[in-house]
């Protein structure tokens, strides 16, 4: 135990001591280097800033961007035009450049929110080309000549023209941007990004407003990257449209890929490799590009995760249990589904479903495979829009709402095929479940968040595994973790989709106990399950579906006696011939 604590402290030194010492090294190196080294050094810092920007989009949020040079260009041109045409001061143009990039981030982010990552690649690439071609074609941006005669930065009445001064300026910019992104990485938003990156459907279903989260990634990434634009313009005294080609976008992307996605130290390494390596390779002249390309392939083959992969921060969960949350004071009917129907093409998956769950009740839905149980769940939670019907949650109509809004209204779920965020730790997975309760993004984690994570992990018995990656858990633990994540939002209604699938008898008994404890909290539990014995022993009421239609509703005892159910489902071990089962009008 002691050793572990010390290790933790050593890690902290590495973690928090690394950056200041790196800055000191950079300062010392700045004294030793000549003008050429300093110019290259400043370029490395500019690429590191761009890398920190694209790291937000690609590294944190997992949105592939092949046109990031567009934001670089927008920053450079906005600042350059303001300096040349309106004779603004460099420091005034900086916020303008960042604001322009933010607008561009919305413009490119909005239409692409629905797109999958591979489509994003071509759309962002296209956006980059559109920006580049537009600035070449327009007269106001100087056409192919770009902007010339951009004045140097003045600071305290002194012009920053010498490479050493500029290197220091770039270093200062880098430190500020680094600090800003480091703060960003501690917000709830950063956790939401990682969840979206791992599985955006699951993230949305447990309460993360995925569209807003993705859009923020574009906007914040664009704003960060845009800072490099004015800096570069001031360094060169010119804005040349040929600096913003697809190749530039690729280089910026490579900064974060080589370093390791999501990893800030990786960005620095990536920037050094991308900028300094070609300089070193100047000796080999025309083979320069070839060497670089081969090296790139080699790096990816040897280290597909990047050379300095992202390492999740250890969670510091509170030592003791926090104050117990106010018990969900709801009583009466929490979920009321009526007339719910959904068809795909001509096939009716769910027809006219009615479902009611009161506080503290366990309600089960059973039926053969393909009976429409999961489709019904997906309609209730907003994952797919129902064709007809109403879904009322604690008195509020939530039909047709986005899944994260349904989750925020108090309805949590698990998935038939467990959908955890495998790259995140157990505790982080549970934390994402908190978004259903508290959707604020640009805040650090609150004490309430951490208390809830601890409480839910404790509740399902996974507290010891808090820091382990979710991907490495055993099957049964994964089920429990998914339930803990669902509970983190203090739901009024919990939908469990086949939680006992693949469980052994001991695990099933534990699960039954867990469900009982959840319903004892006053939460309504709706269960889809194949294990009839389990369903009958814990349910207050059972609904039986077949071919999307409800064939029976009632308490377990009644259902067990129902001849139609026995004929359709319980008593016939193999697939019954559907023609022999009479349709039962309700």
């Amino acid at each position: 135990m002691r050793a572990r604590v010390e290790l933790g402290r050593a890690e902290q030194v590495v973690r928090y001591g690394g950056w200041p010492s790196l800055v000191v090294v950079a300062l010392v190196a700045g004294q030793a280097m000549d003008d050429y080294g300093l110019t290259v050094g400043a370029t490395i810092l500019i690429y590191a800033i761009l890398g920190l920007g694209i790291n937000i989009v690609v590294g944190y949020a997992g949105l592939l961007d092949l046109g990031f040079a567009a934001f670089f260009a927008i920053g450079a041109y906005t600042a350059g035009l303001l300096m040349v045409e309106l004779e603004w001061n460099f420091w005034l143009t900086l916020p303008a450049a960042v604001a322009a990039a933010a607008v561009a981030g919305v413009v490119i982010g909005y239409p692409t929110l629905r797109l999958r990552s591979d489509y994003l690649a071509i759309v962002t690439l296209g956006f980059g080309e559109i920006i580049r071609i537009t600035v070449i074609n327009l007269e106001v941006t100087g056409g192919p000549n770009g902007l010339t005669g951009i004045p140097p930065v003045t600071l305290g009445g002194r012009e920053i023209v010498m490479p050493r001064d500029f290197y220091h300026l770039a270093l200062a910019f880098f430190v500020v941007v680094l600090a800003a992104t480091a703060l960003l990485a501690r917000t709830r938003l950063a956790y939401a990004w990682r969840a979206v990156r791992a599985d955006d459907t699951a993230a949305e279903a447990v309460g993360v407003p995925t569209r807003r989260v993705k859009l923020l990634a574009y906007v914040l990434g664009a704003m960060t990257g845009a800072v490099a634009g004015p800096l570069n313009a001031a360094q060169l005294g010119t804005v040349d449209p040929s600096s913003f080609t697809f190749l530039t976008s690729l280089m910026i992307l490579l900064v974060v890929i080589i370093g390791g996605m999501g990893s800030r130290p990786g960005v620095v390494i990536g920037a050094v490799v991308i900028v300094a390596l070609p300089e070193v390779l100047r000796e080999v002249q025309e083979y320069r590009g070839l060497f670089f390309a081969l090296l790139l392939i080699l790096i990816v083959l040897l280290r597909p995760q990047g050379v300095w992969p992202y390492r999740p921060r250890r969670f510091r969960l509170p030592a003791g249990a926090g104050p117990a949350p106010e018990p969900v004071s709801a009583t009466g009917t929490l979920l009321e589904v009526a007339g719910l129907s959904r068809s795909f093409g001509g096939v009716t998956a769910v027809a006219d479903l009615a479902l009611r769950a009161d506080a503290g009740q366990v309600v089960s839905v059973i039926g053969p495979n393909g009976a429409g149980k999961t489709t019904a769940f997906n309609c209730v939670t907003g994952l797919i829009p129902p064709s007809a019907g109403t879904v009322v949650l604690a008195g509020r109509d939530v039909r047709g709402r986005a899944p994260h809004r349904v989750a925020a209204a108090g309805l949590a779920r698990t998935f038939q095929s467990i959908r955890l965020f495998d790259e995140m730790t157990v505790a982080e997975n549970v934390l994402i479940g908190r978004f259903a309760r508290d959707r604020r993004l640009l805040r650090p984690l609150s004490r309430a968040d951490l208390d809830a994570v601890r409480r839910c992990l404790d509740f399902v018995g996974l507290l010891d595994a808090a820091d382990r990656p979710a991907g490495g858990l055993a099957y049964g633990d994964r089920r429990r973790l998914e339930i803990a994540r669902a509970l983190a939002g203090d739901p009024r209604v919990l939908l469990l989709d086949e939680p006992a699938a693949g469980a052994n008898p001991t695990e099933k008994r534990a699960l039954m106990g867990l469900i009982a404890r959840i319903s004892a909290l006053g939460t309504a539990v709706v269960l889809i399950e194949h294990d009839v014995a389990l369903v009958m022993s814990i349910s207050d009421r059972v609904t039986v579906l077949e071919h999307g239609r409800t064939i029976a509703v009632g308490p377990p005892a009644e259902i067990q006696e129902d001849q139609r159910v026995i004929a359709a489902y319980l008593g016939v071990p193999d697939d019954p011939d559907p023609d022999l089962v009479p349709e039962v009008p309700r």
């Binding site: 239409p111 489509y119 074609n137 392939i297 990816v300 083959l301 995760q305």
Partner: protein
Amino acid sequence: MSEFVQYLVNGLTIGAFLALIALGYSMIYGVVRLINFAHGDVFMIGAFAGFGTLTTLGVTGGTALPAIVAAVAVGALTTGVVGTGIARAAYVPLLASPRLALLIAAIGVSLALQEGVKVLTDARFKSYPNTLDGGQILSGSVRVTWGQLALVVLSVALMAGLWLFVTRTMTGTAMRALAMDRDAARLQGVNVERLILVTFFVGSLLAGAAGVMYGLYYTQISFGMGFLIGLRAFTAAVLGGIGNLPGTMVAGVAIGLVQSFSAGYVSSRWTDVIIFGLLIAVLAFRPTGLFGERVVERA
């Protein structure tokens, strides 16, 4: 009016190339979920292989049909082998890695091919012998050359061949199954790795044939020739619905027409802005392309 028809003819010629190259993007994406950035450069390799063949055969001009056929065949086979080799060496080892690693490998391969050919050719343009100057079919106010016709006919033949391969052979069926669901295909006894290599072979074959045809028609090739046309072909593949082969062909021709008409009625300077603008607009309303994709993302 005659100008309109001329733009149409020019657009169809360009579109024939784009469709052939776009098919490779689409097929490869279908089975590996990889935007093969190196595909445009494989096309370039094909053009150089064809050039090498013609030079070796000592063709200097005139309509030397056997030599042309030999050049197309050698070019296509070379790229088939090169494409398969690339897939085996750089992509297959990364199949289990994050998708981005695969993409970066493809970008690396693309740069390596370009830079390699650049070093070998001293960064110079090469000129094919003038073999397709077979004269005009129409020589009034609208011009159509025999070269254009040969090109379009050959493209259509290759596309038809691909269509038969994909729909009528076991391998093609397995390929389509793989595009639907890799795990299920594996469970059904499909040798996934072999099939991936076959796909790369076929896709690269088409690109190589297109490369030689390109060289024969335009007569000027260089290490950088694959970039722009590759980008547009890729755009066509996405626009048509990636993995959807007929959609890809239609979109390839459509992009060719856009290129021609935008030069005629707007300005060649804005061509790419129009193409990409169109793409973004289409995807904003139809997130899986004009004709819908034929690959299934795992739920």
